[in-house]
């Protein structure tokens, strides 16, 4: 209950601060996801009423964009590039390795809540393929071994 209340107060604060911007919905959704990690379904009525939109319109926007998520992510979200340049450098084998190592498929979160895995279609690191992004950190020329190293380091830190 208190969690919902504090979640809604964050949503309210963000929405009130940004609602007068032209085309405010995307900036609002970004700030909510930055603050909470996802856009809770409970926040939709409040966003809709603040922006004078229908709930369906807000939900429609959230579901249109791949980046916005309606469920909490793992502690770290791994964005693994699937695009052509990375494919040309063996990203499919890397993808198989990553999925096997984490025991999850794309759009899933590990049982311990540590990692979520999302596909991404180009990180603009095509001169360093294959590539991935975790948080704001980017990784180029990723191999099975270097992936294991990065994950191992993160697990050791947590």
């Amino acid at each position: 209950m208190t969690e919902t209340v504090s979640m809604l107060s964050i949503v309210k604060e963000i929405t009130s601060a940004l609602k007068d911007k032209p085309g405010a919905l995307l900036p609002i959704l970004h700030d909510i996801q930055n603050a909470l990690g996802y856009i809770p379904a409970d926040s939709i009525p409040m966003i809709a009423s603040e922006l004078n939109l229908s709930r369906a319109e807000v939900h429609g926007v959230i579901s249109f964009y791949h980046y916005f998520r309606e469920t909490p992510p793992g502690k770290q979200t791994i964005h693994l590039c699937r695009a052509e340049s990375c494919q040309a450098m063996g990203s499919k084998l890397l993808e198989d390795h990553v999925k096997a190592k984490l025991g999850i498929d794309f759009h899933e979160t590990t049982a311990d809540g540590r990692f979520s895995l999302e596909p991404v279609y180009c990180l603009g690191l095509c001169s360093c393929s294959p590539s991935m992004q975790i948080g704001n950190d980017v990784y180029g020329r990723v191999s099975n071994e270097s992936f294991d190293g990065v994950i191992g380091e993160m697990e050791a830190l947590s």
Binding site: G23, V61, A88, G124, C126, C128, G140
Partner: protein, 517 residues
């Protein structure tokens, strides 16, 4: 004496560990009691050398790369701060042939300067274009851009000056400049490099556009996958405001231009200009019908210039040196230079800015050095995921919009993705349809349904089922997509699919006997 050391802050270099290298160099210098000034520059675009550390010497800037953490004590032992010899030394950067042979106009400063230093920008010919523009009429500015022959670098290659002229001549109390920074094409990273490594040039280009057509508000629609570009742009915008290069009274001219970065949210289709404007308005990124053209009724129904990052970043040099200077580069109707991006399976991946007209073969072998794997290059995809796959027999095509159109291919945004002979082109064709299905905005039926059906048909073909029926079916479907889609996503997905089928029929299980029959 303080020695200046450069370690790039470009995300390509960061992805290879440049952040750790910079910290380690600073620490090592401190431990040895050496006085260094560390500058986080942009990348030179020679990514096989990244992280590329540069040292300022009396002989020029000497490079060392690719530097790994374990190399750092050795570099100090070799006195690299005075340009000492080391196995990683690559000599004076300006003399590396890959770099020296380029014609860097738009990328003139990239790698050289500290991207977020306004002083550095001004010291390297920055804001000279704006200075000229402020003394000119809007029509004269547009004329310079028209005279330069600049065509939209995002992919469609529409003449920039004509677009500007339409907005200039459409009266409205409010007009907008939008920078399309939704660079989603695989194999392309020139927009990213401009924004991370020289953000002021984009800000200057947009300011000139605003002054030219009377638009007071600009938006950079940036893809969310570029957090480093986001940070660099916001820092540069803040500095530009502080120094009076943005805001209500630009350099005392009384002219206004405000600029804001807006983030996309992982929708490839938002790189299409009308979808982008829907997204900026806070809606689902559904493609709009055209007409009306955005230049007449664009963002919030107002006249709007939508230009790609590279188009806008090319404007300052055109206004600085004149339209004719820029037009003197290039061939045919493709004027000026194109920042070409070599990516995928290539030995020397990177950014090569050259006048139009070089052949693919020169780029792939003279610059790129062939494949990274050492195997023969089987196919290259030019112009992103909607670009055609070209076989070796087409490698002598010069990079020129018309020459590419003549072989049913596109230059697009100048990205070249290389595949060696292990690639299965039927699988690449299947992926193109899958990508279209994932990214379709859903507004028009050919793209929404056709992409899913297309993937199914290609899967059947890969499984060897009913080729005599399924190949014509795939061609028929592609014809519908090509002619019936609202925008380039559905309309161009047939380029990679059909080019793969036409040039590599054997990968689809089509034998010579079968096609002869």
């Amino acid at each position: 004496m303080t020695v200046t050391v450069y370690v790039p802050n470009d995300s390509g270099a960061l992805s290879l560990g440049a952040g750790r290298i910079a910290a380690a160099i600073e620490k090592e210098a401190q431990q040895r009691g050496l006085d260094i000034k560390l500058v986080r520059n942009g990348s030179r675009g020679m990514f096989w050398l990244e992280p590329l550390v540069e040292v300022e010497t009396s002989e020029g800037r000497i490079g060392y790369g690719p530097v790994q953490l374990k190399d750092i004590p050795g570099l100090f032992d070799a006195d690299f701060l005075n340009g000492g010899k080391h196995t990683l030394e690559v000599g004076t950067i300006d003399e590396i042939p890959y770099f020296k042979k380029q014609q860097r106009l738009t990328f003139a400063r990239i790698g050289l300067t500290d991207p977020v230093s306004l002083d550095d920008y001004l010291a390297h010919e920055g804001y000279r274009g704006l200075k000229n523009a402020l003394a000119m009429s809007g029509a004269d500015i547009v004329k310079q851009v028209t005279d330069s022959g600049l065509r939209g670098r995002g992919g469609a290659a529409f003449p920039t000056g004509i677009k500007w002229n339409t907005v200039l001549n459409t009266p409205s109390e409010q007009k907008y400049i939008i920078c399309n920074a939704d660079e989603g094409d695989s194999g392309t990273f020139s927009d990213r490099m401009v924004m991370e490594d020289d953000p002021f040039v984009l800000i200057e280009g947009m300011t000139i556009a605003g002054i030219a057509v009377g638009a007071t508000q600009g938006y950079i629609y940036l893809r969310v996958e570029y957090p480093h570009a986001h940070r660099a742009l916001n820092t540069a915008i803040e500095k530009a405001y502080q120094a009076g290069y943005l805001g209500g009274n630009i350099q005392g001219s009384g002219k206004q231009f405000d600029l804001e970065v807006r983030l996309g949210a992982g929708a490839y289709v938002c790189g299409e200009e009308t979808s982008l404007m829907e997204s900026l308005e806070g809606k689902r990124g559904l493609v709009r019908f055209k007409p009306p053209l955005p230049a007449i009724s664009g963002l919030f129904g107002k006249p709007t210039i939508v230009n790609n990052v590279i188009s806008l970043a090319s404007v300052p040099i055109i206004l600085d040196k004149g339209g004719e200077y820029y037009r003197d580069f290039g061939m045919g109707r493709s004027r000026g230079t194109l920042p070409i991006q070599l990516a995928g399976n290539i030995k020397y991946p990177g950014l090569v800015e050259l006048a139009f007209g070089l052949t693919l073969r020169e780029l792939l072998y003279d610059y790129g050095g062939g494949s990274a794997s050492g195997r023969p290059i089987k196919a290259v995809q030019v112009g992103g995921p909607l670009g055609a796959y070209l076989p070796e027999s087409q490698f002598d095509t010069p990079l020129d919009y018309e020459a590419f159109a003549a072989i049913w291919a596109v230059v697009g945004h100048g990205g070249i993705v290389v595949f060696d002979d292990t690639v299965d082109m039927a699988e690449m064709a299947r992926y193109s349809m899958e990508f279209c299905a994932i990214e379709s905005c859903g507004k028009c039926t050919p793209c929404r349904i056709g992409s899913t059906r297309g993937e199914e048909v290609i899967k059947d073909i890969i499984a060897g089922r009913d080729l005599h029926k399924n190949i014509p079916l795939l061609r028929d479907l592609c014809d519908t997509l090509l002619n019936g889609s609202l925008c380039a996503l559905g309309g161009m997905t047939p380029y990679p699919v059909l080019s793969a089928l036409n040039h590599f029929p054997e990968d689809f299980g089509i034998t010579e006997q079968a096609s002869a029959a």
